[in-house]
Amino acid sequence: MPEKELNVLKPKDFASDQDVRWCPGCGDYAILNQVRRICAKIGQTRENSVFISGIGCSSRFPYYMETYGMHSIHGRAPAFASGVKLANPGLDVWQVTGDGDGLSIGGNHLLHVLRRNFNIKIMLFNNRIYGLTKGQYSPTSEEGKKTKSSPMGAIDMPLSPLSVALAAEASFVARAVDVDKDLGEVLERAAKHEGSAFVEIYQDCNVFNHHAFKYATDKDSKEDHILRLEHGKPMIFGKDRDKGIWLDGNRKPRVVELGKGIQADDLLFHDEHDESLSFLLSRMTYPEFPEPMGVFYQIEDECYENLLQKQVDDAIEAKGKPDLQALFNSGDIFEVK
């Protein structure tokens, strides 16, 4: 259906006619609802939106959005999304991927889409498991994780998606939890960022890895286990906001209690434009630290698709309008009479 005269879309206008088929209780539902809400809120149009995914439970996402969409192949969504942007830089392109899709089979493509800074919003649904293939360990599963493919415990070292994104020169890096109130805000900021925005979303796989992020979702204790980042503000956390992050003499972060000789001003302040700070934050993991949530890093940079378009425009300006006959006639010509 075309947009109404007034052109005010509601979240439900972004819902396609397909039944959503994730398991009951899957974290993907919450994310889907937030994305629909944000698309409506920021005035994105359905016809100008393209959702591209790889393969995995999470990658079913595009079917449920009343936008253009492609459920592509395992791991390669960044390359399809890049192609869409090369062809039409004006489209709003979102990419949906999983921890296996984005970091295992598609790790290579993720690096390159980020470093090129295509204007694409990348949501990585991290459930620390392979959901669709029924529960093998993934690149983000914790060491020792017992699954069907690791009955004696995984011996792979897990990686931090955010550290990878930062090392890959991403211009926007953030994290949120599927059921958390801040997810919407993080997605909104990602959507408004001009450049590749990488958002890791902690997502509960209700069936194969339930409660993997209980520490970050449990009503009573989560505020003690996550650190909500605010640009320019001291890093305070805890249910009673009585704890903070402090840098010791060796520039190592420490959890400290406020009051006892340490004031808010002594704490580490968040600066979204500080690359090394954001990397340091990406290394802070539960249970040693509260896990940071929100926008870790954000800078302004030129987007690949615009730079390429500019080269085309500049070349045409310098050499004149495309003239195929002139192209054919380039080189040494000889005439046979």
């Binding site: 869409v84 090369l86 054919f328």
Partner: protein
């Protein structure tokens, strides 16, 4: 332009021998500038009005040790006063810049052929590097003197003397010696030097801003030319007259360049932006290079992180409504297969170019082969019908690239275009087309109409689905690799639907046959033997057929451009001949298909030696088949440039393998 470049050579008092054609080969160390000498000779001959065909031969290793056989780089040119189709079987004249080049190429020279060697480089050290035994110098070997007309020229020293007062370093002077050799060969074959002079002035003088280098190269080029005239070393000169080609404007074109131009042209004919996504690989990289230089034609190029990404990006481009193309060589096509299948399932237009090289695996990157036919046709999971077409000569790459794009768009399907290292790197004169004569590529993107029901997988009369593109209001839809329900395009696990969709995809590709012309038989429509070829072997098969026909034999040939689907009249043509021979640079891939599809007793001539066919090899095979000597043997293989029915079985003992338990 024609007037100035066709300058007749200065008067000479040496006798001239008139030739119908000549095959010359420049060979030297990869640092000796042989490719430049070769391309310059080609340009000059093409502009002079000869028909030309070339065969560059690069060393496999970029930095093979200097002076070794592995580091030899060659460039062969066949130029003629008549229409020719191959770079020639035997070399009439070899220019060998060092002992390794001599060693690597001497056996290809015809008996009595001319050999010009740079004798300065035949030093003890260089002879050793070339792998000659201690104390041996082939230039002192009578067996060569009896067989060839060898002229020893101190090219290194003469070049140094010519440039002694330029103030250039010894190294820079040394790098000019290819131009001395070229000048000498220009003189020998009575070619004008002005094309090369203006090239040197443009390239070194203007582009590289090195006027001194340009001047030095021109100086030594001329010195080489005049050396031929003044010295008594060469008793005769040769002349190859202009070829009587169809009137029109011509230029020289290389295969990869023609592919690039064809793609850029197709995009304009379709009013689309060409986005060429590729990952560097020999011998396909030049297509990327050519297109990267065409930004001013609106062309976008994207050097992806690997071949998979290149394929996927090209599909993303088509999804978003522009012309997505990717190009690669064999190993890269293997990587693309999963994504190619997605394009097939999503029914999006995309063109995949495969400049074939020697395989399997990394194989012979710089050598040619036709062994990716089955990969192109079948190298994917599931029942996966793709359109496959092949170019037959360097200039033909232009037309084939346009046709590939046209079919992809008309039928909403991936199209694989096969070329190979031989035609990709080869060059020939190309009659410049008139842009107005090229047929536009029609596209209609659907728009939303409230009164009309629309679905992403509805079909038109070609069984093609609509190309609805993001940005179009009201046509939002989702596609992917899961099986689609007929019409709606929703995910469907219904088994009857899967049977139906599988049949539909096959029938759609079969329908492409409606858009391809009937095959034309070269020669009589029936006879004793039909040669069936495809791709880059066109020139040699055609020439061998012509020669057989001239000898009164009832031999005809056909050449397949369309490998899937095949032209509708192929079956009836096959039925009109007593025997069928399929020459291919693989172990019999087309042969297998013809046998399987048409139940004909096709036999093969199969060469997998990294090189194109010699015409003579095909002639030999024709004789064997016509003489009825083939028996039950399904195929023949040339060995050392000869096809001998008695020399077909591999003698393992010859390779030191004595006991094989089977």
């Amino acid at each position: 332009m024609a007037a100035s470049t066709n300058t007749e050579v200065p008067q000479s008092n040496k006798p001239t021998e008139e030739l119908a054609s000549a095959v010359i080969r420049f060979a030297g160390d990869s640092g000796d500038g042989m490719q430049l000498a070769g391309t310059q000779f080609t340009d000059t001959s093409a502009i002079f009005g000869n028909d030309v065909a070339t065969l560059p031969d690069f060393p496999a290793e970029i930095r093979a040790p200097a002076g070794t056989v592995a580091g030899v780089s060659g460039f062969q040119i066949n130029f003629a006063a008549s229409d020719i189709h191959t770079p020639g079987d035997e070399v009439n004249a070899l220019i060998a810049m060092n002992p390794a080049a001599f060693k690597a190429h001497i056996d290809d020279v015809q008996q009595g052929g001319i050999i010009v060697v740079n004798e300065d480089e035949f030093t003890k050290i260089n002879l050793r590097k070339a792998g000659y035994p201690e104390g041996y110098n082939p230039l002192d070997d009578e067996k060569y003197d009896n067989k060839y007309r060898i002229t020893k020229v101190p090219i290194t020293r003469l070049n140094e003397e010519t440039l002694a007062d330029t103030g250039m370093s010894a190294k820079d002077i040394g790098r000019c010696k290819n131009m001395f050799a070229l000048g000498l060969i220009y003189w020998l074959y009575q070619r004008p030097i002005d094309t090369t002079v203006s090239y040197l002035e443009d390239y070194f003088g203007k582009k590289k801003k090195l006027p001194a280098v340009a001047e030095a190269n021109v100086k030594t080029l001329k010195a080489g030319y005049f050396f031929g005239e003044t010295t008594e070393m060469f008793p005769v000169r040769f002349h190859v007259a202009r070829a009587p080609v169809a009137p029109g404007k011509y230029r020289k074109i290389g295969g990869n360049e023609a592919t690039a131009m064809g793609l850029a042209t197709a995009a304009q004919l379709a009013s689309k932006t060409l986005v060429y996504c590729s990952y560097p690989i020999t011998p396909a990289s030049d297509v990327l290079h050519s297109l990267a230089a065409m930004r001013n034609f609106g062309v976008k190029t994207f050097q992806a992180e690997d071949e998979i990404a290149a394929m996927c990006a090209a599909i993303g481009v088509s999804f978003a409504g522009q012309l997505g193309v990717t190009g690669t060589s064999g190993p890269g096509l293997a990587l693309k297969s999963e994504a190619l299948n997605l394009a097939l399932m999503m029914e999006l237009p995309v063109v995949i170019i495969n400049v074939q090289r020697g395989g399997p695996s990394t194989g012979l990157p710089t050598k040619t082969e036709q062994s990716d036919l089955l990969q192109a046709l079948y190298g994917r999971n599931g029942d996966s019908p793709a359109v496959v077409i092949a170019a037959q000569s360097p200039g033909d790459c232009f037309n084939t690239a346009i046709e590939a794009s046209r079919l992809a768009i008309k039928y909403m399907t991936p199209v694989i275009m096969l070329t190979d290292g031989y035609i990709g790197n080869g060059a020939e004169p190309w009659r410049i087309p008139n842009v107005e004569d090229l047929e536009p590529i029609e596209i209609s993107h659907p728009v939303f109409d409230e009164k009309v029901e629309w679905h992403p997988y509805q079909r038109d009369e070609n069984l093609s689905r609509p190309w609805a593109i993001p940005g179009t209001k009201g046509l939002q839809h989702r596609i992917g690799g899961l099986e689609k329900a007929h019409i709606t395009g929703n995910v469907s696990y219904d088994f009857e639907n899967h049977q139906f969709m599988t049949d539909l995809r096959r029938m759609k590709v079969e329908k492409v046959a409606d858009s391809i012309p009937d095959l034309e038989v070269h020669g009589e429509a029936s006879g004793d033997l039909l040669l069936v070829g495809w791709g880059g072997t066109y020139g040699s098969i055609l020439t061998a057929t012509d020669r057989a026909q001239a000898a009164g034999k009832k031999v005809s040939c056909i050449h397949l451009r369309h490998l899937n689907p095949m032209p509708k009249n192929l079956k009836s043509i096959l039925g009109n001949f007593k025997q069928i021979l399929v020459p291919e640079l693989n172990t019999g891939q087309l042969r297998m298909i013809l046998r399987g599809k048409f139940l004909v007793d096709a036999r093969g001539l199969n060469k997998i030696a990294g090189k194109p066919f010699l015409v003579e090899e095909i002639e030999d095979a024709i004789k064997i088949v016509l003489n009825g000597e083939l028996g039950d043997r399904e195929y023949l293989t040339p060995r050392l440039h000869k096809v001998d029915i008695n020399d077909q079985d591999i003698d393992l003992a010859k390779f030191g393998i004595n006991a094989v338990r089977l």
